[in-house]
């Protein structure tokens, strides 16, 4: 199946998922749309999150994608079920793969979740974890300062450490979790700082890697893998300013990939 995998995100955080998809599925073409104009979604009301997400979906469905990845925890929390019911292609969110990886990783069955206010308010992680195992203790905390900090490009150093340390104080001191889910696709970009704050005994789960692996599994099971060797250029679209998107894209991909030159990047209205 030569059709592309569609990836939507509220901005640039989902590029961590795109990066993993490229690494684990190098023969697949991606079409990515980041709604940077409306980012962050995490502090918006439910109605807006749904409307903006559906706008992105309509844009990508016109490109005849074969599978949709919602690479944004907030959008997953509020639209996954609806999209799975209404679209006739497989739809994969980032919450369920992260929840499964956390269940796989925890030994003491105490799992922490950090995310945006909207993601934490939705209890989507707690529901996903308890649907599989009702014995898991879940401790959630929203970290509203992380996304603006990452979007500013502050990924390490004193400012990053202080912000993370203050936000995670109670998670660190008042719980005995052994696993922490980075429930927002921006957070893998400050994973080192979060790890430094939480300590070595807490395993950090990034949904990006897990989501890419599940995408690979679903493509194979449904016989949707690209069997052709002709490489098709990835396409990246943003609703916001192209230069800011480009800068953050460079930040993310320079660590993982050297195929940025193969990327087409456009600004669009949706």
């Amino acid at each position: 199946m030569k059709q592309a995998i569609g990836v939507i995100d509220s901005g640039v955080g989902g590029l961590t998922v795109a990066s993993e998809l490229m690494r684990q599925l190098p023969k697949e073409q991606l079409i990515y749309l980041g709604d940077t104009l409306h980012c962050p979604y995490g502090s918006r009301p439910e109605e807006e999150i749904k409307r903006f997400t559906w706008n992105m979906v309509h844009f990508l469905m016109e490109k005849d994608i074969k599978l949709l990845v919602i690479a944004c925890n907030t959008a997953t929390a509020y639209t996954l079920n609806d999209l799975q019911q209404k679209l006739d292609i497989p739809v994969i969110g980032v919450i369920q793969p992260g929840a499964r990886a956390a269940i796989n990783a925890t030994k003491n069955k105490r799992i922490g979740i950090i995310g945006t206010e909207a993601t934490i308010r939705s209890s989507a992680y707690t529901k996903a974890l308890h649907m599989i195992n009702a014995d898991i203790s879940v401790i959630s905390e929203s970290c509203p300062l992380f996304v603006p900090m990452v979007e500013k490009g502050v990924l390490s150093g004193t400012e990053a450490f202080q912000t993370v340390n203050e936000s995670l104080q109670s998670m660190k001191d008042c719980t005995d979790i052994d696993t922490l889910v980075l429930g927002c696709t921006h957070y893998p970009l400050i994973k080192d700082v979060i790890g430094e704050v939480m300590g070595e005994h807490v395993q950090l789960i990034s949904s990006s890697e897990e989501t890419a692996r599940e995408t690979s599994a679903i493509l194979e099971l449904q016989d949707l893998l690209n069997k052709d060797d002709t490489f098709l250029e990835h396409q990246f679209y943003t609703t916001g300013e192209l230069n800011i998107f480009q800068k953050l894209t460079n930040n993310i991909f320079s660590h993982h990939l050297d195929c940025l030159s193969k990327i087409r990047m456009d600004k669009v209205s949706i």
Copy 2:
């Protein structure tokens, strides 16, 4: 969906997959069938492997299972495509999850595969790896002595070390793999010995954990998870001697699980 997950294996090796399924999906009921009478499959001709596997499938389909896991690499290599085409429930093998995990783990794109003679002869792992990434170098080696050793209960000590060391000599000395797939469900039971022989720089991939995780993902995506809290007893069937099966089951589950008392075990003819 209260129906059970069916698991088939040529013998007891698949219990490592069953054990992981129980850990990662504690609300799901398993019905396991191990064809210990005809074990090992790994040195048998293709026709026999297919016939024995289909006999197991017929037995489990009568139990109205909702998903089938082929927890045997040899049976996966020779029957997965056929079963996926002919059964109207999802069918998951152990080769593809292992291949995906190896692609995720490798840094130098050099992956070793060890398995039975039949699994290695089928090139199923090489095909699965190259379908996703044609740039991967695959080095395969059959280890015909491992299954009989494990079935005898020799899982550690001098005899185990010497057998493993001799079998993996060329894999260890003549390749620069950074990832080794344990391409037989018996091998996780001697994972420590294999790790000691290969050294810390080689990551060992066990399909059991990966297969359970993918099963969890497929159940959720296809809305097949058990949402009921009533626990249903697992059922274990063997075509061979019950006492040998029981002994090896104790060996495997004592490390992972304490729910053996909840298991019903029967000898059957298929």
